[in-house]
Symmetry: C2
Subunit: 380 residues, 2 copies
């Protein structure tokens, strides 16, 4: 029976092999997933979604999202971005994953190329490949500096071909924990703009900033930037699958069209809960989360003797000096046997000796224990 | 800026133009959407999903679905299909749409062809096109009979090329309300099996049978059949976006892989509610729904002087004798002005003078009023 080439090119879960090793561990420390230990805001607790107030949430929500939620997001992000958005600039999707898949499906045809700044969120490569398009890795996130921005542009220009359609940028960055500076974003954005390339700007961690400040590429280059956001990271509800795009009305119209055929629409009860949240004083929840994430993030960084994350929920660690003749997989398997799960660097691009650690997936006390086990392993 | 050819080939909402016409109507009768007026089973009411019992449903559910739900479905469908399924034969997805998009992405590459039995559920054509593959229409559903089954096979054989990868079949059928007989399904299935083609069997209306009985193609040809199901139609929760696939473990593994990149996973609270439902005495709810749907379905068919639907929630009506020199769009616009919305036949294939009417979207009393307005219009 025929299996598509597109699916043959995709990575399956790279975590399952390590999970298997962990099954006899006394306790499991899942530091490999990007999740939150916090209880979500009360507006997002399903129990609080009263049937009598919302009797029709069993019915289809329209493709692209319920108008009230799209309008509310347009209002809030108009203020944030100091611009004038309407609901036609907003699309609700099945998570940022569904949002980005829909955006890219509107932009790339088979054989087209997307430049992906690396290290990158692993799913973006799979999204591009699922659309039978090509991933072109641009590994500059780890060693950029604004003094070196021209080198980044040189690299991008070398990678560009007549099939290049878009560049994917993610700030605050998963997996590095970096917040990309405005000057660098401006140079990359201008390069893309002048070459009529789309900028796919993944800003799902925009609220999780511990140092510096977030710049949205949309505020710099609204015409050719498609921004992906999500409730997942800002409010600890990755399991709800509710994200959104902000972009010009033409690309939103097209992304809604294609999303209709990928997942039709976004879970209606979740959208109604998200609207309730955005009509509440939601910034208190975020402020508290950021304070707590910052504290544990700093602790973990200090223990591991690396600079703390500037944003997102991750540290990206170079373990080459601990590997000797060992492969990364062997080290990760040994750690898994002791219950500590980390994400291997090769999921994020050409980073075979690196690992990603999430410091927000489990409660701080447990994260600390996991880090202790990791340190003991590395220095034993 | 570049827009993909795949998105250019997609139909947007064909309903919005008629909706616009309806905005001044006294009351709106949305007979164009496939939805349910019923309140879902209590297990699916979000308010009943207690936070204290399910404190972790904010976190990611795994791609492919929570194991307990996959296992429960495997158990139930093993009984139904008289076979021996495990959770590796089941994938949970963002609605049947997400399930079918994932299945087809695992099967087709750009330029490959999918034969679609017509008239068809409009989204299937868009799914195929979103994957840069080709839709080949096989319009035999309206006039098949088992005596004529050989003609259907002849047609399919004429349409087959070396790029044909799959045939899409939908029973009980949207939009025709027909339940395809086992003998016909067997002949089609055998034809596909012998030619190593996948059968994409959309069985989301399997529980909504008013006459005859449903045959799952999986029970006939398990090796090459991928079945799509959904909670949407059986339990009136189209807005929840929870469907599933049943197929052999290799295609399920691949479909899960690609679904990871289309929408990552299915809304966690909805999966937990679905599991509660399947652990309850859910068949009572279905039995009551079928009784009510059958009654209003018969009434509407009688009024419109057509045979009642055998299954699903639709009637497909040939209006050619009412059109005279009028276009279907003009008639549908006139109806929309009076508040009655119907789905145009051209959304379902080459059926320019037909319309689809859903008899379960709104309460029976209101459906009856909508049908009165329709009849008055047709016979005035």
């Amino acid at each position: 029976m025929f299996i598509s080439n597109r699916v043959k090119g995709l990575a399956g879960s790279v975590f399952s092999k390590f999970l298997k090793e962990a099954k006899n561990a006394k306790e499991i420390y899942p530091l490999h997933v990007g999740d939150s230990w916090l209880t979500p805001p009360k507006e997002l607790i399903m129990e609080n979604l009263k049937h009598s107030s919302h009797p029709h949430i069993n019915k289809y929500a329209p493709p692209g999202g319920i108008p009230e939620l799209r309008e509310k997001i347009a209002e809030l992000w108009s203020n944030k971005l100091n611009t004038n958005l309407t609901k036609n600039n907003v699309m609700i999707a099945a998570g940022a994953t569904g949002a980005l898949a829909s955006a890219l499906a509107s932009i790339v045809d088979p054989g087209d190329e997307v430049i992906i700044s690396a290290p990158y969120w692993p799913l973006i490569a799979g999204i591009v490949k699922s659309l039978s398009a090509k991933v072109i890795e641009a590994p500059f996130i780890l060693d950029f500096s604004i003094q070196e921005a021209d080198k980044t542009i040189e690299l991008l220009e070398q990678l560009r071909t007549d099939r290049t359609r878009a560049i994917y940028i993610n700030t605050p960055n998963n997996p590095t924990g970096k917040v990309l500076p405005k000057e660098l974003l401006y140079k990359i954005g201008k390069w893309a703009h002048d070459r009529k390339l789309w900028i796919i700007s993944d800003e799902v961690y925009e609220d999780l900033i511990y140092k510096g400040s977030h710049t949205s590429l949309y505020s710099l280059f609204p015409h050719n930037t498609v921004v992906a956001h999500a409730f997942s990271k800002s409010f600890g509800v990755a399991g709800y699958r509710c994200g959104f795009l902000i972009a010009n009305d033409e690309i939103i119209k097209n992304a809604i069209k294609v999303s209709t055929y990928l997942f039709y629409s976004t879970t209606h009860p979740v959208q109604v809960a998200a609207l309730k949240l955005l009509n509440s004083n939601f910034s208190d929840w975020i402020k508290n989360a950021v304070d707590q994430y910052r504290e544990i993030g700093r602790y973990v960084a200090e223990q591991l003797k690396v600079p703390p994350a500037e944003g997102s929920t991750f540290l990206f660690l170079d373990l080459s000096r601990f590997l000797d003749n060992k492969t990364l997989d062997l080290l990760l398997e040994e750690l898994a046997k002791e219950g500590v799960l980390l994400a291997p660097g090769y999921s994020f691009g050409p980073f075979d000796s690196w690992v990603r650690l999430c410091f927000t997936a489990i409660p701080p006390e447990k994260t600390k224990k996991g880090v202790d086990i990791l340190l003991h392993k590395l220095y034993s």
